[in-house]
Amino acid sequence: MSDPLVAVGMLLILLLAIFLGFPVAFTLMALGIAFGYYAYFDADRMWRPYERAVEQGADSWVIAEHWLGGFFNNRIFDLFVNQTYSVMANDVLTAIPLFLFMGYIVERANIVDRLFHTLFIATRRLPGSMAVAALVTCTLFATATGIVGAVVTLMGLLALPAMLKAKYDIRYATGVICAGGTLGILIPPSILLIVYAATSGVSVVRMYAAALLPGLFLAGLYLLYVIGLALLKPGLAPKPTKEDVGEHTFGEVVWMMLTSFVPLAFLILAVLGAILFGFATPTEAAAIGALGGLLLAVAYGALTWQRLKESVYLTARTSAMVCWLFVGSATFASIFAYLGGQQLIADVVTGLDMSPLMFLIVAQLIIFILGWPLEWTEIIVIFIPIFLPLLAHFQIDPLFFGILVAVNLQTAFLSPPMAMSAYYLKGIAPAHVQITDIFRGMMPYMLIVILCMVLIYIFPQIVYWLPDTIYGARPI
């Protein structure tokens, strides 16, 4: 069997192990080492000390030791430890624990109920006002925390009962929460973009600049849909009654906005601004954001020892989850490429004689389908590296591709059977809310995501305008 075929076999075993549900990081590590051992197997080199000992007529213990040692003399072990160290000293991934911590602490800062209440009052005259408020709250909160599950469940406990009480349609009410909460992995500062940047070598800063408008654009499309549907079918979202809303003067609303919406928005904008305009590296900005999150929690009187501890430990666990995946994939990917698996795939794909557009559609379709059973971390760390080397052949910018992937992966949370957003929501929703209702509620948003991708393809300026404006024209 030729080496490239061995590499394909390696990929198939990986897929099998993923399907069996073993922690992916360790599977990658083991396969990388096992196949690397095969790839770098060089009997002459490995047993050279042994041969030398025999020639010199050393005593039999020394010879036996050298013979055994020969098995461990494979260069894969050096490669493995070097790759591991390069993940540990990676200056892009350093931002991940900091952003995670910022997310966990903001999540515990008692801010979300205040935010939703305020936005509900502020938007009370709009059609579907509660849904609009829920969507904006989700978007902002998800952007700040980046933790989809937390946003969906918090909002599910907060906004969903309120909407159901106001006789909102179940599908209408659940869809908006799931879709809004999922935006957190797209709008910067999101972890997904850092992980993509670390995988692809695109600069995080450029990635953030490029993702900002598409993220807001998608949120805008959602908003249009929510308002539009409420206008067309007012029955879905009855106007709030006077007693629900209460009387509020303009000054009161402004004050409420100043104490809930503005601080959080300011925090996000400060972090993003510092990164985009080069005042600080993403890691430094993340640290400042985390500090800001801590201050915010203090300001809302929510910083307890208990919550701090929770945030710290959860940060460690989630960082380990993401970064060990990199430890595994670093070795796996280099062995896969070394054996020629990458080249084989490239040859096959280029041999198909596809147009760039076709390739783009096929690639996104594959990612879309992978999003059903898998999580975005696995998709980006394991599968995206397979596509990346093909991009140059089709003259597709990895930055542009990355944004499309980030938008596409929104659907990973929304599409059955493994729509995590839906399961989170179902887990905390009242019993009469059926999972099928939630799925149906989310369907339109999936179509909007696809529409958004098409629009981004037709108008790439949505991606390029901001980075080009800040950093000048792109290098081609």
Binding site: A30, N90, P97, T153, L154, T283, A320, Y424, I428
Partner: protein, 215 residues
């Protein structure tokens, strides 16, 4: 067996949690760097090295802790449908063929790598400050050993589960329930929803409560 599992869980959690606090050092260290760079035009020579060392130590040391709480990412769309017995059987085999060889390699290769670094007391080449990095390379070995110890505990868990038909829960989850109860006196109940979902793989929340019986 149960005694050993508890011991490994505690050991992993202890290391994971102690080094988890490096996130706080990281936050203040980086913020200090930005402050002195702009306010006093005096950037520090150590902040960059500090940042990746703390990050690297943080996640490497948390590896075993994460494993003991079953929080490593896994494609569980089939796995979650199985009975605990079948989960345990499959996992036991996979631990033996996938987990231990990799982690053993990590320990031995890391040992050689760190040893070389110690032999000439290597310092970082990123700044003239001469930040030592041999201790940072040693983290690879320690993380590997912790994973190995925890891995044996996970194998024991599988064996126990194959015998009894249910997973032995991690120590901390018991505490967590207590903590949650203690919290309920002081915090509004709403907050608990947010904690149940912090099991990072895609469990739904109702299942998440059952999942607490898992490692």
């Amino acid at each position: 067996m149960q005694y050993y599992i508890r011991f490994a869980d505690d050991l992993s959690a202890w290391f994971g949690k102690v080094f988890a606090w490096s996130i706080i050092v990281m936050i203040f260290g980086m913020s200090y760097e930005v402050l002195v760079r702009y306010a006093f035009k005096a950037p520090t020579p150590w902040a960059y090295d500090l940042s990746y060392m703390l990050y690297g130590t943080l996640f490497m040391m948390a590896g075993a802790y994460t494993l003991s709480r079953d929080a490593h990412v896994r494609g569980d769309f089939l796995y979650r449908l199985w009975t605990p017995r079948r989960q345990a059987t499959v996992e036991l085999v996979l631990y033996i063929i996938f987990f231990f060889p990799g982690v053993t390699a990590l320990i031995f290769a890391g040992w050689k790598y760190a040893g070389r670094s110690w032999s000439y007391l290597e310092v970082s080449s990123n700044s003239p400050a001469g930040i030592p990095i041999y201790q940072f390379k040693t983290v690879i070995v320690i993380a590997g050993v912790l994973l190995f110890i925890q891995g044996i505990a996970q194998v024991f868990r599988c064996v126990l589960c194959m015998r009894t038909g249910h997973w032995m829960r991690a120590v901390e989850d018991v505490e967590e329930t207590e903590k949650v109860l203690m919290e309920a006196k002081t915090l509004d109940v709403l907050k608990h929803g947010s904690e149940a979902v912090d099991i990072p793989s895609g469990y739904d929340v109702t299942a998440a409560k059952d999942e607490r019986t898992k490692p």
